[in-house]
Symmetry: C2
Subunit: 141 residues, 2 copies
């Protein structure tokens, strides 16, 4: 799970570059749109395949904890995330927090390997009330 990818293709290189430029934790198709400006003929499938490979190699983070649509993070260093409960956008938490103590907790039927602290809230775009600016948003209630 930490072995380097076999081939560094143009596509893989540019996907990685663009993801690392961003702090926005894009979804696969958001990244696809961005990469497409440099590689107009790239396909969405290629973006998905590369994000898979890169996350298995530990070069990017696949944020499972992000609701329906997966999001990706080019910053692999240990840090916490906030998620907008309205639109799903993910942000970085600036402060360093201690990793949850794994050895002190028990869960029947599970072998716990690690823990994470996650935050929830509302992003500025959603707080300011414009539903249009929140992609795929539908007001909760």
């Amino acid at each position: 799970m930490e072995n380097k990818p076999q081939r560094m293709t143009k596509q893989r290189k540019i996907i990685l570059e663009e993801l690392r430029k961003l702090t926005s934790h894009p979804t696969a198709d958001e990244l696809y749109e961005i990469v497409r400006e440099r590689l107009p003929r790239i396909s969405l499938g290629t973006v998905y395949r590369n994000l898979d490979v890169l996350s298995e190699n530990g070069e990017v983070l696949k944020l499972e904890s992000a609701g329906s649509q997966k999001r990706f993070d080019g910053d692999v260093s240990s840090h916490c995330h906030v998620r907008c409960v309205n639109c799903g956008r993910v942000g970085d938490v600036m402060d360093e927090l201690p990793e949850p103590e794994v050895h002190s907790v028990s869960a029947p039927g599970f072998t716990i390997t690690h823990g994470a602290t996650e935050f929830y809230g509302v992003c500025d775009t959603c707080r300011d009330g414009d539903e249009l600016a929140a992609p795929g948003a539908h007001r909760t209630q």
Copy 2:
């Protein structure tokens, strides 16, 4: 987000009852199969619709943090979860943990409202190596 549902139909009542009986944090279709034993003519769409209503009313928990398929929890009291990184199953952590301190953290562009500690690991079924018993599982590597 905390108003009671307008009507307590047979379907809604039984869905809630069955979910509260379980500690397994089922997916919508797992719950559908269970409820179907009591209401053979119920539809999957109804299960989804009711889980939405019930979670908006705070009667059940919708566990967004569960990868591709969503899971639901009939136990609304504050407790932490473990997630199997192999098959996605969710379990309860027995120990009480302090809620992360929200006021001490900052995230640009976000208004943080609450935090949660989440754990990851492997469930017994996956540890024991039988891929067949893990629904939809595919070994990571």
